[in-house]
Amino acid sequence: MAAPRKLSMKQRYAALTRDLDWDLSYVDEDKAYPYTSFEGIKIHDWSKWEDPFRLTIDAYMKYQAEKDKRLYAVLDSFAQGQGHLQLTDPSYLNAMKLFLQGVTPLEYQAHRNFAYLARFLNGPGPRFAALCQSQDELRHAQTEIHTLSNYNKYYQGMHSWQHQHDRVWYLSVPKSYFDDAVTAGPFEFLIAIGFSFEYLLTNLLFVPFMSGASFNGDLPTMTFGFSAQSDESRHMTLGLEAIKFMLEQDPDNVPIVQAWIDKWFWRGYRLLALVSQMLDYMLPRKVMSWKEAFELYFEEQMLGGLFPDLAYYGIKPPRHVEHAIAEKEILSHQVYWTLYQFSFAAGFTTTVPSEDAQKWLAEQYPQTFERLYKPLWDKASAVVDDGGRYFYQGLPQLCQVCQVPMLFTEPGDPTTICQRHTEFEGERYDFCSDGCQWIFEREPEKYVQAWLPVHQIYQGNCGGPTVPDVLAWYKLQPGDNGEIAGNVEQTAWEAWHATSSAEEQAPAPVAGN
């Protein structure tokens, strides 16, 4: 008798993922899976869902464990080797503070909602893929927190990220983005997060962060980033399979999916405004400009590669994409200029870009930097030379949809702020762009509920009426916010590098809580 043959990947996947499913006999399918019809998406055959990774639970566990082992080896050597001193400059960590406050809580949100999909999608294939992603997202949240906790011992701004995610003005941008997605139905969530966030835009978020870490001496972040990103490839696949599956199941799904692509491209793109300034301004040693990243990861790969593929199903490139393309010359400058004047109320610090940094910006943005933004920095420098520091004395007007301060300019006119508004049931609502206005007008009932930080402060819901009241409610500690120059973090950094005595380096002079 022949020895039992090892099953092939295909057979193992069929046996362990699909064959363990059963047909329901004592309960109706629409009672067991009550949320997959109200969005109008028609699915005729759930077995048509493809998982190219052909992942089974044993293989999943084996490789995830290996990824974690590799990461924790790096974290150990970081802690043992005084890794916190290896950065290019402590101001680099502003990018990581933004990441921890803004992105890590989203990983946890994603974990929760993919767990919901793992229960409530009708087919065993997508349920298992969602289960793996749910576990991945939890792993990402945990490893990010664990990795960055090594810096929290020595640096500012990382002690209350979870609390701040729910309260601080600029963090309402990522928070509201995810709130919007998890309160949609399962199919819209798959397009919002699985497709738009994980496939269309993820490279613009993760790869610059991780390459930035690699370039700025932050080994552990680079390692957790690549570790997470290896899961991300699977998530990209899930997003792409989800969209193809919906489009192939019924032609009536096409216009619904198109509207979701239109909405979630613009929502995601506005969220990435925070990343654009990180690349161009926050990183002490630059990796690539936002413009270059946008051209490479979005225009070339997505508009040039993906959308011709989706055209087969009748899908067009996202609505308002031409505005995003036009903004690539100005976006990061406008965003950092805004953060510069509002960093008194932020969990990170800002400063006037150095001469070298401005030279680099002028080279990267020959059309716009010297003409439009250098004069502003010169004026801000003059204020500093006079012993001052420019902070905006007030609160900004916010966009009702993306919740970013209304800093964006009119298409084709980078010197005039874009103002849009719509009246709904007798009340006026303001928007930063045609994209956000269009999103509101599609579903006004959803966005009238927006928890806009500025409005909440004025309603008295944020600790009190004064700026110090609000900052205390944000749990900002001295040194977390404001100007980089002269900050406690900068001073401590200089002291650490001035001394060679191990005893003097040992304590953590600026530890958070």
Partner: protein, 101 residues
């Protein structure tokens, strides 16, 4: 609306994969280079980016030859950072990335 085709309208439609720069992955990158004549390899901080105007194939046997040990295609999950294109095939012997349509 304006339909964009990216900065250069005549651009070839690429597929690509980003691989973490590690000792083991060097064998994977070499295998991909050997088996995909038209591919381009670019080194970026921490990662290697492989692009091709047609498709990218990763062959288990080619990787094993260079690694000098058994290598299952599942291990590619430890190497991959990102990709663009569609994973058209992933079985015991081969991984294939290309656009569908």
């Amino acid at each position: 609306m304006t339909q964009s085709t990216g900065p250069t309208p005549t651009r070839v439609r690429q597929v690509g994969v980003d691989i973490q720069e590690t000792e083991e992955n060097r064998a994977v990158v070499e295998a991909v280079e050997a088996d995909n004549e038209d591919c381009t390899v670019r080194h970026m901080p921490g990662l290697v980016r492989i692009t091709s105007p047609t498709r990218i194939v990763v062959n288990r046997e080619s990787v094993e030859q260079r690694l000098g040990r058994e290598w299952e295609t599942h291990e590619f999950q430890l190497a991959i950072v990102s990709y663009f294109g569609h994973i058209a095939e992933w079985d015991d012997d081969q991984i294939l990335i290309q656009w569908d349509h």
